[in-house]
């Protein structure tokens, strides 16, 4: 079966066309050894009633066949690497940009492919009463040209038929030798002349886009709008998601209690219900609480992307980010890091130069994700009980601290890390478009699903493992306190207590810190178990607030074996510093590994961040306890 590749410059409408061609049955593959995705899919049956279905592959946008960035390299590999039997190509050309894009058609023809030109955005011409003369283009290029309306799906059927009828090329397909500047020049000149004859050359849509840019790229108002837009996104992911997250949280708590009541509390059934309630359901809940937030985040990003604003935002903030070796495209991934590092690392795909993506992915976990919030809330409440203002200032300092450390780390790494491909910043600013909400919605849904499938197995497995470790071997004991004190986890905790002693805490906190590797907020519930705060709350039908109060109470009274308090100002401050800097999230590590295709990267990030956090926490304790 032959495969047809969609090839075209960025923003030419490839993905839109691919969706029309294949519908929703797509799968995403990784070209071996690369970190860039390829989408594959079969043509919808109704598009080719008289032909065998065609397999399509959507390649990353490329300006030419001479790759100059990582994603262009993937396109090149897909076409010439021999992994996919590609002999026919649909070149996707934006009909408003014919003069600049026609050389790609010529390059593909020269390499030996059989090509059909899919001319997108023709509706923009029609809107202004002009027409695109695709017949003329067809004659001049000597290959079929199909006008596509990406908004309504017009021309797609025709494209499939033309591709099916197109004879396979007789010649061998070979990687092109780079064109000389003269050749490129003359092809461009021809393309320009041809474009004038094919369609109107200066459409009004360009003027309106330039008009909007006069405001949105304005040295002053542009920045004002930028901050308003990003602040809105930030507010949406933090505060608008809050009520829904609480609802999800409550639903899972209810489910856990329900299951426990249903199964009952006998010697065996009690253990099973505990396992289902505290191990499984709590683990699933830990993933699902963040789903509303992550969906809103993805929705916001897709929306900004689809309107064309994202490229402007990247332009506006490029300068400050360039000082630490990043570029403007790193802004949105970093901002997303304040919700959760997992979607943020996924969003870093849009950074198409390798080194910048590497740096951004490395420092994203320094951003204060929302899983740190419950931990901060607990520890700050302990430190500043009844002094919410001080607590608030400290919280802001923690946010800021993580950001600053991240940026400094990027600046330092920038000096060490070598770029494999030269990095430059040439960013095309596409036309502004009205966002297509259905597309945006489906896009965000797809990405949210990817988030769930990436994190859920890990968090669930760790949650179950943690439950087993805290409840065995004395699972039959009725007293939760004894069960815990003599559990495997406490045996491990006591053994590694010396590691945590320099931070001024005992083994119970050490166990809490380790359990936080499942998900940071697990720290709070583990502490509640470890310091036996749950039982007193459960007695009076407690909620989260009363749990916190009772836990803080227990923390105040917690003593080391020698009678000294476990939680002092110094030790809690050390814990805060630890949480600010540590990469305590195995989902992040696994997603970093998968996105960067490098276990070295993931291990380096995991180890260096945690060592840094540990050293800084010990230092904090040492200074404050003098």
């Amino acid at each position: 079966m032959s495969t047809v590749a969609l090839v075209g410059p960025p923003n030419s409408g490839k993905t839109t066309l691919f969706n029309w061609l294949t519908g929703r049955k797509q799968r995403v593959v990784n070209y071996p050894g690369s970190t860039v995705d390829l989408a594959m899919g079969m043509s919808l049956p109704h598009l080719a009633p008289n032909h065998a279905p065609i397999q399509f592959v959507d390649t990353p946008g490329t300006y030419s066949l001479f790759a100059k960035s990582q994603d262009e390299e993937v396109t090149s590999l897909t076409l010439f690497g021999g992994r996919y039997p590609i002999r026919k190509i649909a070149v996707v050309i934006d009909s408003t940009q014919i003069s600049r894009q026609i050389h790609l058609v010529k390059q593909l023809q020269e390499a030996g492919f059989a090509v059909v030109v899919a001319l997108t955005m023709c509706d923009l011409h029609e809107k202004e009463g002009s027409r695109v003369d695709s017949a003329l283009l067809e004659r001049e290029l000597g290959t079929p040209v199909v006008a596509i309306n990406g908004v309504l799906g017009g021309g797609v059927k025709d494209l499939v038929a033309k591709l099916a009828d197109l004879p396979e090329p007789q010649v061998a397909i070979e990687r092109l030798q780079p064109w000389s500047a003269e050749k490129l020049h003359s092809v461009f000149d021809e393309g320009e002349k041809l474009a004038r004859r094919v369609g109107k050359h200066d459409l009004k849509v360009f003027n309106s886009t330039r008009g909007i840019d006069r405001v949105l790229l304005h040295p002053f108002f542009g920045l004002v709008f930028f901050f308003i837009i990003m602040f809105t996104l930030f507010t949406a992911i933090y505060w608008a998601a809050q009520p829904i997250m609480q609802l999800v949280d409550a639903a899972f708590a209810l489910a856990a209690t329900g299951v426990k009541q249903l199964i009952g509390n006998g010697p065996v059934s009690g253990a099973i219900s505990d396992f289902l309630g505290d191990g499984v359901i709590a683990g699933v809940g830990a993933v699902m609480v963040f789903v509303p937030q992550i969906f809103i985040l993805f929705f916001g990003i897709s929306l900004l992307e689809d309107t064309g604003y994202l490229a402007r935002a990247a332009t506006l903030v490029d300068r400050p980010l360039s000082l630490v070796g990043l570029n403007g495209k790193a802004f949105v991934p970093l901002l997303s890091g304040f919700a959760c590092a997992v979607p943020a690392i996924m969003a870093a795909r849009s950074i198409n130069s390798q080194k910048e993506r590497w740096l951004a992915t490395f420092i994203i976990p320094f951003m204060t994700c929302s899983a740190r919030l419950p931990v901060y809330a607990l520890l700050l409440a302990f430190l500043f009980w009844g002094k919410p203002l001080l607590g608030g200032i400290c919280l802001a300092a923690l946010y800021f601290g993580g950001l600053v450390v991240g940026l400094v780390a990027s600046g330092l790494l920038n000096l060490i890390v070598k770029a494999k491909t030269p990095s430059f910043f040439l960013l095309e600013l596409p036309l502004y478009r009205r966002p297509k909400l259905m597309v945006v919605f489906r896009n965000s849904l797809r990405r949210t699903k990817a988030y769930i499938t990436k994190t859920a197995p890990i968090i669930l497995a760790l949650s179950v493992a943690l439950w087993v470790l805290t409840n065995f071997p004395h699972i039959r004991s009725q007293d939760p306190q004894t069960r815990l004190e003599q559990s495997w986890v406490s045996a491990i905790g006591r053994r590694i207590e010396p590691v945590f002693a320099p931070m001024g805490v005992d083994w119970r906190v050490g166990v809490g810190l380790i359990s936080a590797f499942a998900a940071r907020e697990t720290f709070v519930s583990s502490m509640a178990v470890l310091f036996n705060a749950t039982s007193s709350v459960a007695a009076n039908g407690g909620n989260e607030d009363s749990l916190r109060v009772s836990l803080i109470d227990r923390m105040r009274n917690a003593k080391m074996p020698n009678g000294a308090p476990v939680f002092t100002f110094a030790s809690v401050a050390a814990l805060l510093v630890f949480f600010m800097l540590a990469l305590q999230c195995l989902s992040t590590t696994s997603v970093a590994y998968r996105e960067m295709r490098s276990s070295r990267f993931a291990i380096l990030q995991l180890v260096s961040m945690n060592v840094l956090a540990y050293v800084c926490a010990v230092g904090t304790y040492w200074v404050l306890s003098r």
Partner: protein, 79 residues
Amino acid sequence: MTRLSDTSRQRPSPDETFTIIDLSAESVVRERLLELGLAPGRSVQVLKICPFGGPIVVRAGSLSLALRRDEADHIWLGE
């Protein structure tokens, strides 16, 4: 003859047209500029100059492109 990056001081109006005279960028960037249509002999307008040494936004025909000062240093313009 001036560099594109020098326009950040002159702040030309978006209607003023310059002709590209030469590209002195190293090979990859130079080739990419050519592929984008920023070649000697073609005309460009300077649409925006981002503050604090940020990117410059130029227009060449149907293309709007943001480029850093580093890249703009290598694009030589004449009137």
